[in-house]
Symmetry: C2
Subunit: 158 residues, 2 copies
């Protein structure tokens, strides 16, 4: 038993509470994510992985290497290969040679990609705002604070 698990003096309920918390966190995350996927599909004929890659690229006009994208998104590099392939097929992204390193390539949004993503990002923000509409400033602040703390501890022991 770790020191932190004895605050209440009763380990069993605390352990169950944590499990319940996880299930509720997962449920919220899935409910929101499913909405976003559905709207990206219906309104923009695209997918969340494509949106995520474009979002990363939009923040780096000079482009990103494949490995940088997979690091930022915490997905495998083989995964990014396929997504960038499809974005490229659709004329939304392109691979640029990296001078001095023939293994790597820099991925960038095309002009069309930038326009497309700007639209999607604006819609995305309003979707989130609508879904979290009923949380007041205190709720949002309280949750952000605790999630920051949780994420820090989760990343320590990655």
């Amino acid at each position: 038993m770790t020191p932190q698990s004895v605050e209440t003096g009763a380990d069993e309920p605390m352990s169950k509470m944590r499990l319940r918390l996880w299930l509720k966190l997962l449920k919220a995350s899935n409910l929101i994510e499913d909405q976003i996927r559905r709207r990206l599909r219906e309104d923009f004929q695209t997918t969340l992985p494509r949106f995520d890659v474009m979002s990363a690229l939009a923040r780096s006009p000079e482009g990103l290497k494949m490995s940088q994208i997979s690091d930022m998104l915490r997905v495998s590099n083989g995964n990014v290969t396929g997504i960038v392939d499809r974005l490229t097929d659709e004329g939304l992204a392109l691979r640029v040679a990296v001078p001095g390193d023939r293994r790597a390539s820099q991925v960038r949004l095309t002009a069309k990609g930038k326009r497309t993503f700007a639209e999607q990002a604006a819609a995305h923000e309003t979707w989130i705002d609508d879904m979290l509409d009923r949380l007041d400033a205190d709720d949002v602040e309280g949750m952000i604070r605790r999630l920051d703390y949780l994420n820090d501890t989760l990343e320590e022991n990655d």
Copy 2:
């Protein structure tokens, strides 16, 4: 602008706060879920979808119909078909005919399936407990309360 979005008298920051909250919620959810997937694979040579289906079945000894499983897990029915097929191939679950309805089948865990899931569920609970270890009772309670509220509002406008 909805009535709820004006509590602070400043819409712009609140909208950005909500977006930040979503990104942090998603991050926490993904960090935890990735750990669980990894451990299920490494320790038990199984996957999260299989674990989820077995978890639903474990709570219903009399069995569940395919459509009940997909409702509980919020996934498509075609998806459940494949997962139950694989569980069946491995001798962990089986389909039983439903008397009076030849379209449907009742899915149950086998004895082997029950034993296997019991082991996995026990490990799962300790993984969660370890990952959320640094949250104290107040944190857990505060987050559960807000997530309950959020989930209620999200399910209303599904």
